[in-house]
Amino acid sequence: MRGCTSCAVRCRYKHRGIQLVQHTPFGKEILILMVNGAKDRFEKQKARWLAEEPSFINRCWDALCFYRYAFPWVQFSWYKLPYVLAQLGLAASGPAIAYHTADKLEKWHAIYIFLGVLVVLVLAAFLSGTPERRAGRISKPIQTIWVRFGNLLNTVKSGATPSAQKNPSIEFTLALATSLAAQVTGIKQSEFAASLVLYDGDERVRMKIDHRDRGSDRPIGRQINDLETVLGHHACQSGAAPRVVADVKRFGKYGLKSPTQSRPNYRSIFLHPVTSVQKGSVAGFMSVDCTVPHAFHGHRADDLAALLEPLKAHIEEMI
């Protein structure tokens, strides 16, 4: 704790990193501390994200959040209301009839039986859909597309592609990445966007977004000078391994700050560092982002890492 430099009043807040400049009755102190707190939160979350050592509680929370956003049946829909009411009626009918006709059944016993039957019905509905979800996860056409796409890319090497065609080629590849992400996650394709962010110069102090998926209306050609808040940059610095950002909101205000100064609407990101074939070093990263939080949780990230591989290889050939 440090006192204010002008009035020497001991501050109620714990200082984090930056020294308090002035204590004013108009809340400047609080403003400064809020900024410091946001930065602190970002740094803490970033370190936790890079270390990848979530606690048991964090893993449970992530799983719960995933189920909250992944399954539309959790969300309200008028079309599903009759089904829900029918299930409730089914669960309540037995205990209600027994309560009204048999004198021996207590009110609380009837409620317990109703809740028990309801839990069994919900579990049965969840389990009956599991084989369908598993079968839908690995579809034969996608496997064939993956193999044939690899064949196709093998015929389009960088040497054979005119330089004027390289940029469109990367944009089409990024558009395909959004399609694959939509297929893997089962989320609408309009919720996804993909971009390629590359280092500008050998100093690795600036990045540039020159490529977005074809059809995207997000800005391109903008330079990113402040790399401290760019998670993709930190992923590149820690190796060439793909990483998943479950929810950028977790990183606080700095996490929601878009590197291109546009208002970000994405919540989860799949980051895949790309290596330049010519230089042999990490040249930047490919990001597939989604407006739905926890979109790349668990096996979805595994699937995407496998399916995006030919696309990443093609981009590495083109840059």
Partner: protein
């Protein structure tokens, strides 16, 4: 999901796992490109990799050890 949450042993980091999956997928694609495996075999291996990445990576690691020995 439940099995994964309750697992208390040494856990592979997600980025490490994704890296290995990406590498294995690359190997499968390159083997097919080189004509060493057919399209069906490449597809089958990719299905195995996606269905159970941990088991696939373990089998591949064992094969590498066996070859080295």
């Amino acid at each position: 999901m439940v099995k994964s949450l309750l697992y208390r042993g040494p856990r592979m980091k997600q980025s490490q796992k994704l890296m290995l999956i990406s590498r294995e997928a690359s190997k499968i694609r390159k083997l097919h490109e080189a004509g060493e495996i057919s399209a069906q075999e490449a597809s089958r291996r990719l299905v195995e990799l996606r269905a159970d990445p941990e088991a696939f990576l373990e089998v591949t690691a064992n094969q590498v050890e066996h070859t080295a020995a």
